[in-house]
Symmetry: C2
């Protein structure tokens, strides 16, 4: 896997960059941006890193995450945009038109027509893998901080090497990052073992809500259930994976009530292309993991989802 | 990491082997034995593989696991013993005295005085790592089956690269095994996503039973609770890790009622040497993961455990 030469050359030959990631950033977006930012600074670039939604508290263990600006860059003709872990400006909350040049680095399946120089490769397990190759191509040393940020990015998007996107090179890159100072147990502790009691109680409610339809599990948390536990807005993150533990379940859907009859859905599957199913609701994502929003009465929504999933 | 030359030479120069693993075998014991067995057969050795307790149904995805004999070998002067993933014959249910020579390959902390040629290295994340090096030293090709068995062995004992024992070489070996045909998602699916509904319901009961004492979580399942779910004897395996998800928890204890006032305990910790604590009850294990049995009234046992853990 090699970054496009024009991407590397453009970075080498220019100085001012604004790095931007998608809204509701996950560990792949944040870790990738932080690693690239540190790498570019090491070769003298001037840059700032932006996240419209800041850094969620559970991602603040990422080295240097405190320097990420919560907000969006001025789109002016003195700065180049590097859009990371998404490929459409609206996913990052920006307009995207005002920059000198627009660079895009992403691994998501659905690709939009945006950017002057792009590296969008859905075969990469994580944007962190692409950033790793960019850092190598720029001949920047992998510091312990870069290693930890990239190791986290890759861990988040591979379920720490459990998903189908984990290949031999994913693990060999991870091995190199550990040699450079990343600690697998430190990262795993922060990703998986930092549950608040509120989130823990939310998990119990989630598990109790499981409904099984052949190989599909549907779970559902209402606003009231979430409020009862005192859980915060990020506490439902990735909780959908827990119903996938069931032997008979190939597809897991989690519906979270965001407002009256307004639901945020997460789908995970080892069988169905869930990006396609999410797209029917105007959502998107990866083949095995996608999300959507729907304005609907819950029983109607469940029926609709079951229909789409069964015909996929 | 290199196997002792006398171990490699003895294997090369002798023909008949009985491979034996510990009772209640886990994926490291089974995968290690199966990989070594296939490797030795590839260089013409005559051998049989034994497990006193057979192969639990959730480990039957391991390639060739159906050729493991449920039982113990005849201890006679025509066979060499290779004891794997334990270093005391009683851990395997054997006497151990009747064999020509006794070879021991293990990575557990507590080492006993048994065996003619030994490779006991607690710095290895899994016995699978030791077997990998033995197979390399014997210059045997790593087939897809060997790769899957070793990848599983290493996954089980590192929590798929999440525990402190995961090092750069653990990941580079894993990468090589994937190149040889091991599938990370196939193995992870079998290790983590094959829960029966009964086990799933047991997990909910387990989570509901959590009691927190500072950074210690104690959970407890009675025979009645287990029976209510219809869960089987292996369904409590590794369930203890779930209370470790809590941010404030450094040490997790799980007590399972085996008989009236007779408890099997599992301890996991990122802080305390739990092998020492388990040893106070006549148990043992690793620094971060250990087990014991205790004949006691539950409230007395909890107090005793809390005392030991707090003074550790």
């Amino acid at each position: 896997m090699k970054p496009p030469i024009e991407l590397i050359n453009y970075i080498k030959n220019n100085d001012n960059f604004a790095l931007v990631i998608h809204v509701n950033p996950d560990g792949d977006a944040l870790g990738s941006m932080l690693a690239l930012g540190e790498g570019l600074k090491a070769i003298g670039k001037v840059l700032k890193m932006y996240s419209r939604d800041g850094v969620p508290h559970y991602s603040r263990f990422l080295p240097n995450s405190d320097i990420i600006i919560q907000g969006l860059p001025l789109e002016d003709s003195s700065t180049n945009l590097i859009l990371i872990d998404c490929n459409a400006p609206k996913r990052a909350g920006i307009n995207g038109d005002g920059f000198i040049k627009k660079l895009v680095i992403d691994h998501h399946l659905t690709e939009e027509d945006f950017g002057d120089i792009k590296w969008v490769d859905p075969s990469a397990a994580a944007s962190g893998i692409l950033i790793y190759h960019i850092i190598k191509a720029l001949e920047v040393d992998i510091t312990q901080n870069i290693a930890t940020n990239l190791y986290t990015a890759i861990s988040v998007d591979t379920g720490t090497f459990r998903y189908q996107n984990t290949k031999a090179d994913t693990l060999s890159i991870a091995s190199e990052l550990v040699s450079c100072g990343a600690s697998p147990s430190f990262v795993a502790e922060h990703l998986y073992n930092k549950w608040s009691l509120a989130r823990f109680n939310l998990l119990i409610k989630f598990l109790n809500s499981v409904e099984i339809y052949d190989d599909i599990a549907i779970t559902c948390l209402t606003r009231e259930m979430i409020e009862q536990t005192g859980a915060g807005p990020h506490d439902t993150e990735d909780i959908v994976n827990f119903s996938g533990m069931l032997e008979t379940v190939k597809t897991s859907v989690f519906l979270k009530e965001a407002d009256k009859d307004f639901w945020r859905g997460s789908i995970r599957s080892t069988k169905v292309n869930v990006a396609d199913v999410a797209a029917k609701f105007g959502g998107g994502g990866h083949k095995n993991a996608a999300g959507f929003k729907a304005n609907s009465e819950i029983s109607v929504l469940k029926k609709q989802l079951l229909g789409y999933l069964r015909e996929s």
